[in-house]
Amino acid sequence: MLAMSEPATVPDQNSPTGALEGDLVRRARRGDLKAYDELVKRYQERIYATIYHMTANHEDANDLAQEAFIKAFSALKSFKGGSSFYTWLYRIAVNKTINFLKQRRNKHHISLNDLDFNAEHDPDLVALISDKTPHREVNLSELQKKLNEALLKLSEPHRMVVVLHDVQGVSHDEIAEIVGCNIGTVRSRLFYARQQLQGYLADYVKS
């Protein structure tokens, strides 16, 4: 099982298993399901993780991620190649998620995934909680719950920017392209969202 301990990176396109993305996209456009399967495998973790961090619900994230990939396949003919396939796919996933969250407004049902083993040994997290209490494991779960609740209090555009940048490690430029706004807006949203989160999580972080 692959842990999402670091933002996933695109597989090496020169490696034997990693065919060129452009070639895969061209083949998939012609209806080659094997090529599309490889594209799905390449991006499934990042797409799923982004949607999961937005919804805080594993089942919803699974459904939406699947729908995003299926929609991307059916819309491949309209993909002009103006941006990378990965950015285009992200945009589809983000739009689907935001539409879903608008419909689901005020009906949050949290279904969180488990933390991986590495969480207990992450130096940043250890440093963050070690001075609070010796019951580390209990506090990690509690922290996870509080963090997700705080994220759900943010508006969708603000949550999206935090998830993409601070959790997924996507750059400001790419976020601007994915979300469809300018970099200044991305930065201001990020700043505002962090401020809000800092307020919600005042008991756990130093302001």
Partner: protein, 172 residues
């Protein structure tokens, strides 16, 4: 700005916790298979039909998004449509009753014409009514009475369809 960003160091550390949240074991092993099965099954992933229409037509999509974001306007439009429909029904009803009154006036104004045209039908209605009675078929919710030929029961008027039948032995 950088000083402000430094204030978020703890928050950024805390947000790293999200990266440790992992789906159930084996989740990614079946993920792409599920998608491929759904694609082979003919799903387009467009979801709702409105979503597909809005993605294909930007103008229509903009309209749909506009209405989606303002449910009050949808409610007002629906109420307006209902009111229009109600007014239309009332107007049609009114014009029909007006037309009937007009028809009566015309028949009063031209008695000869109406008599000539109406007399055969009136006559046939008059002649048909007893025939219907004589047939003995009555419409009733009571199953017993509806099955009985009423006129023949009381013998006041013989049923023309009724014919007495006699059987004699040794007719072979």
């Amino acid at each position: 700005m950088s000083e402000k960003n430094d204030n978020f160091q703890d928050l950024k550390r805390l947000l790293k916790l999200k990266r440790h949240e992992i789906p159930p074991p084996g989740f990614y092993n079946h993920f792409s298979d599920d998608i491929m099965a759904r694609i082979r099954g003919g799903e387009s992933g467009g979801g709702h039909i409105l979503e597909r229409i809005s993605s294909e037509s930007t103008f229509l999509g903009a309209w749909l998004r506009f209405f989606e974001a303002r449910p009050g306007i949808i409610g007002a439009a629906a109420t307006g449509l209902c009111m229009l429909l109600l007014v239309a029904v009332i107007l049609v009803d009114h014009s029909e009753s007006g037309g009937a009154a007009g028809g009566m006036l015309i028949s009063q104004a031209m008695p000869a014409a109406t008599d000539a045209s109406a007399s055969p039908t009136v006559a046939s209605a008059v002649t048909l009514a007893p025939a219907a009675d004589n047939s003995g078929i009555t419409v009733s919710t009571n199953p017993v009475s509806s099955l009985q030929p009423v006129a023949s029961l009381f013998g006041s008027q013989p049923n023309p369809l009724f014919q007495p039948v006699g059987f004699t032995q040794g007719a072979r």
